[in-house]
Amino acid sequence: MPLDVEHTYRRYFPIIREKCARMLRDRAEAQDVAQETFTRLWAERDRLQDPGAIASWIYRTSTRIAIDRHRRVRREDELADEAGDHTDPGARIDATRMLARLAHRVPAAELEVAILGRVDGLSQDEIARVLGCSERTVRRLLQKLETRLSRLRESA
């Protein structure tokens, strides 16, 4: 990775910014997550060299930061969101709403694969490479998520 922060920013920040904007409805929050992702990328610059590996790292890290933030969101926000939203939780996607609604109900690993698959459009093979796990693990996580969403639909 270039050791020049300006070059690194120009090359990678727009990718981070767009990725975060897809995940987060609040513009300021998306900007915060993008900033944190870039800060971490800069801190890891000695370890990350290959642009392909950096792209995967950006997807993995920004997704995890976004999930972490949503899991800390106040419970009231989630309830208020639900009050005005009666869409099918398994329906295809309002990504930001999915994050907001499911962050407290779904394990982070399942949310990760859901965001990478449904929001970013990654194939199972791509998700496996980004997360450093097997495709089988990805399939298992997606199956567990579907089961969980089915239960939520039934209880709704």
Partner: protein, 199 residues
């Protein structure tokens, strides 16, 4: 038209990484995907916070034992302890943890210099090098928990930030690092002003 490639594929193409021939063919005919490529290819000048990353790290509280920190922040309280109930293991790991407290005031972010007074609405955020410890807890006054999570090697910018309230009185942040005994613990006292003035 073929199905859209993933955003990762598009971003890899932006970075000049070889993409599949189907992806290239798709990009030649899909306005939607081309617009994404144009957005991520738009030059954007780095803002101040990004340029600041390249400056030499200020580590006013680099700790190689407790005394360095104590002298650096003078009036602040530093406690090194294993934690309640087992003081015989009081220690700091040899390479020593370190941290930087970032203060976000409006659009400006700066590292606390142990003298600047915090103000209401400032956002405080810790960056920690845990040096082998695996768990971090951050506590407010009276040990009210603010953050508790595993922490990895290297320097970690904690995902949590805390806003300074308008209540009078100083702010206290206590950082506790542990992986089982021994525990590393330090308490910062940040004097606060509610008057508006430059730092």
């Amino acid at each position: 038209m073929t199905e859209h490639p993933s955003f990762l594929q598009l971003d890899r193409a932006t970075l000049g990484i070889e993409v599949a021939s189907e992806t290239r063919a798709h990009l030649a005919s899909c306005d939607h995907c081309r617009r994404h490529l144009e957005r991520v290819a738009e030059p954007e000048a780095p803002p101040a916070w990004a340029r600041d990353l390249a400056r030499p790290r200020r580590r006013p509280w680099r700790i190689w034992g407790g005394l360095a920190l104590a002298s650096a922040i003078a009036v602040f309280v530093v406690v090194l302890t294993r934690g309640r109930g087992a003081p015989e293991y009081t220690t700091v790991k040899s390479a020593g943890p370190s941290f930087t407290l970032h203060i976000k005031r409006g659009d400006t972010v700066f590292a606390w210099d142990a003298a600047t007074r915090v103000q209401p609405d400032d956002q405080l955020r810790l960056e920690v090098a845990a040096t082998g410890f695996r768990r971090i807890r951050v506590l407010a006054a009276n040990d009210v928990p603010l953050y508790d999570a595993p922490i990895g090697d290297g320097v970690t910018l904690l995902p949590a930030a805390w806003k300074v309230d308008v209540q009078p009185g100083d702010e206290t942040l206590t950082i506790v690092l542990s992986d089982g005994p021994p525990t590393w613990r330090t308490t910062l006292k940040l004097s606060k002003t509610t008057e508006e003035h430059p730092r």
